[in-house]
């Protein structure tokens, strides 16, 4: 019986290792794919030429344009896809655990509406203080501001009742949506840009975007993983969790702020990409079980893999035109999820 348990832990490690491998291959493969006509054999060479020790061994046989495309256009976009996909999947998992609600997604407490407002204000008024990075910065600041606002409203004498949090988040999101709708209605030529941003996508993202999002997503995700077991126990209910020694109020606050951090960072660089945060945790729960100690890292990895593949489709399927990646995520993710539901009889949650 102990062997069973040890086996289980070992399985977890295997799963994570396997997913890391898949992620690695995904990144390399996706970098080789794209509408520009670059031969796949050249791609690994270009990639390895950047590694400090190996690069002497590689003979340069590609053009500057090809290198630019691989290293400056595709690779940062793919890496960003990994980060954003992982962030959204992790955020969805924690929101579902925190609210004990299978319908929860990363945007449920209104962060995305705040970020959207920031982005749209930036677009509408043509703000340019920090150049091209004004928009993501505005999105991040406004998204984060929402969480403080929601927290302030929902907090009662140091406690944070989950139901109030949910309702305040929804109310604020609705209010901000109204403002956004108004801005869109009165927008002139900016409307195009606003609509595309809202649909979510990774077009034109560069290493600067990666650098902007990476620290926040890494920090938030690491903190959440530290509290994985606490999340398991909180699923029993807040009182039982308190009885088992979890400082429930403190953990709630830490989880909420970490989640908001990673969602705000993700949304600020990629717009509002739906579906990944909601469905990835469900899929992974069916495949690896509800224990967050394995669910969180595997959701993160699968979220990254999924977004990279869907983004690859989005940028190649009717090249050179790009499709918003949110459309692809829903189109492919939903049927797969339904298939899983039918073949596995385990309960959804």
């Amino acid at each position: 019986m102990y062997r069973n348990h040890l086996e289980k832990i070992f399985h977890w490690k295997l799963i994570i290792a396997y997913l890391v491998l898949v992620l690695g291959s995904t990144v390399v493969l996706a970098t080789a794919l794209g509408p520009a006509h670059i031969s796949p054999s050249v791609v690994p060479k270009i990639l390895f030429s950047r590694f400090p020790l190996i690069h002497h061994l590689i003979i340069r046989s590609w053009s500057i344009g090809e290198a630019a495309i691989i290293l400056e256009i595709r690779l940062p976009r793919i890496i960003l896809g990994v980060l954003v996909g992982a962030a959204l999947a992790v955020a969805g998992t924690t929101m579902q655990a925190l609210f004990r609600n299978p319908m929860a997604d990363p945007y449920i407490i209104g962060i995305s509406s705040g970020a959207a407002l920031g982005a749209i204000v930036s677009l509408t008024f043509g703000l340019n203080i920090f150049g091209l990075y004004t928009l993501p910065l505005m999105a991040f600041i406004c998204g984060s501001a929402v969480i403080f606002l929601v927290y302030g409203i929902a907090s009662v004498r140091g406690k944070l009742p989950v139901s109030t949090l949910l309702l305040s988040g929804i109310a604020i999101a609705l209010f901000l949506s109204a403002i956004i709708s108004f801005l869109m209605y009165t927008a002139g030529e900016e409307l195009h840009g606003i609509v595309f941003w809202l649909m979510g996508g990774l077009w034109g993202r560069s290493w600067s975007h990666v650098l902007m999002a990476f620290p926040f997503i890494l920090l938030g995700t690491a903190v959440i993983h530290i509290f994985a077991r606490d999340l398991n126990i909180m699923l029993l209910g807040e009182e039982p969790a308190q009885h088992l020694g979890i400082e429930v109020e403190t953990v709630k606050k830490i989880i909420i702020f970490s989640t908001s951090l990673i969602v705000a960072a993700a949304v600020s660089v990629s717009g509002i990409i739906g579906f990944i945060g909601l469905i990835t945790p469900h899929i992974m729960r069916i495949l690896v079980g509800p224990d967050h100690r394995v669910l969180l890292p595997s959701s993160a990895l699968v979220g990254g893999i999924f977004l990279v593949w869907t983004d690859t489709l989005a940028r190649t399927i009717i090249a050179p035109t790009e499709i918003p990646v949110g459309i692809i995520t829903a189109l492919f993710g939903a049927p797969f999820f339904l298939y899983l539901l039918r073949t596995r009889k385990r309960s959804m949650f």
Binding site: R100, R229, L236, P240, H243, G245, D291
Partner: protein, 418 residues
């Protein structure tokens, strides 16, 4: 190891501005099994919450091993104190073993994973609650009772010194109820735990608890042993019902019998029963159900028939316990007999104490007498009773048991109607 002690020192709790608990003080040490009883909204759950660090009292202190629990970390407290709630609403797919293993969390560091010892402890807890065979089942597929036992196993996996339970046997079948309570009682002694449990069933509380705390409107109304707390006066004042309290024949613990109001209105005639020693218990309730206006006499207070009759709110001509029937009560008895349509004499032993009952029965107009044994076998008056009996027997209808009495009455009724 130091014996665990729990001391609640004059705590008071409130929600918003309403005081839910006031002036609560008591203590418990290893091996104590304390029952918390009281009507709804008397503060029982609140008391448990304040002891388990969920609801902080605004005055007073809760000491666990002489330390204020509100200065301790929750994990520290959880190593010593476990709570079994009234019901759980777990709606996700953890296995029963995984749920029980969560009970080991207080003992594990943040990055530690459960090891062999944790698993052994979980196994032992599940075997104690007879849930080990459910270990790989998903918790949301278990029945209410099975789930409750798994939760109890989880609490036991914490290796607590103090165990708090809120109505621990609510969803359980009677066999599991007894099994669990017996288990908790046993562990209470073996593991030298403090057990504090909320009970809604006073009789169960009386059976298992060493001490009781009766709460009423947020204050301690009575505290102490069952004898001290479970008195007719206390129960009437707190619960508002009249009861009979007697010692249970089997366990020797106190049993509460609530006096029920007659559900059936008497529509048929008056029946007076001369009885005693529990010979009329079933007859009485069936006659009442049939709609007869039943009275009894003369019975000694404390006699089983007396208790049964009082429980049904019937008129009883009573005599002091263990006393001979006096002239007074004999007269009263005769009055009832005169008023009655039917008089029934049950299969009672006759001694000098109650021979007057036989005399009274002889005065009945319509007498039915139940004869399970012959009068000689029941005569403790050296023949006097037999003589009297033979006389009244001549005018009486003789039946073999209570059932026949009813049949007789029914046929008399129908004849009377036709």
């Amino acid at each position: 190891m130091q014996r665990v002690s729990l001391r609640i020192d004059n705590i008071a709790c409130r929600y918003e501005t309403a005081n839910v608990l006031e002036n609560i003080s008591f203590s418990a040490t290893a091996g104590d099994f304390v029952g918390v009883i009281g009507p709804n909204a008397s503060g029982k759950s609140t008391l448990l919450k304040s002891i388990s660090k969920i609801l902080r009292p605004h005055t007073g202190v809760v000491f666990l091993n002489q330390r204020d629990i509100y200065t301790l970390k929750s994990a520290e407290v959880a190593k010593k104190l476990a709570v079994v709630p009234q019901k759980s609403a777990i709606s996700f797919a953890f296995t029963a073993l995984e749920v029980v293993l969560m009970g080991r969390a207080p003992h594990l560091g943040r990055f530690e994973i459960e090891d062999r010892e944790d698993l052994l402890i979980a196994k032992r807890s599940m075997e104690l609650t007879n849930t080990w065979h459910l270990r790989e089942r998903s918790i949301d597929t278990l029945s209410g009772g099975e789930e409750q036992r798994v939760i109890i196993a989880r609490a036991l996996a914490q290796e607590p010194r103090v165990l708090l339970l809120d109505e621990p046997t609510g969803h359980l079948d009677i066999n599991h109820q007894i099994e669990i309570l017996d288990l908790i009682k046993r562990l209470n002694k073996e593991w030298e735990m403090v057990v504090i449990a909320i009970f809604h069933d006073l009789n169960v509380a009386s059976q298992y608890c060493d001490r009781l705390i009766l709460l009423f409107e947020g204050k301690i109304f009575a505290a102490g042993t069952a004898d001290d707390v479970l008195t007719r006066e206390n129960i009437e004042k707190v619960y508002g019902i009249k009861v009979i309290v007697k010692e249970d024949d089997v366990s020797g613990k106190l049993l509460i019998h609530p006096q029920r109001k007659n559900a059936v209105r008497p529509t048929k005639g008056k029946v007076h029963i001369v009885a005693g020693c529990g010979s009329a218990v079933s007859l009485v309730s069936r006659l009442v159900e049939e709609g007869y206006n039943v009275s009894l006499g003369v019975l000694n207070v404390g006699d089983s028939d007396y208790i049964a009759a009082k429980a049904l709110g019937l008129d009883v001509v009573e005599e002091k316990p263990f006393s001979r029937i006096t002239q007074e009560s004999h007269q009263k008895n005769l009055e009832f007999i005169k008023e009655a349509n039917y008089v029934i004499l049950t299969n009672i032993p006759i001694g000098f104490g109650n021979i007057k009952n036989l005399e009274a029965a002889g005065q009945a107009q319509t007498l039915i007498t139940i004869e399970k044994e012959s009068i000689e076998e029941r005569d403790y008056t050296k023949g006097e009773a037999t003589k009297l009996y033979r006389q009244l027997r001549a005018n009486a209808t003789i039946v073999a048991d209570s059932h026949s009495v009813l049949e007789r009455l029914k046929s008399v009724e129908s004849r009377a109607r036709s």
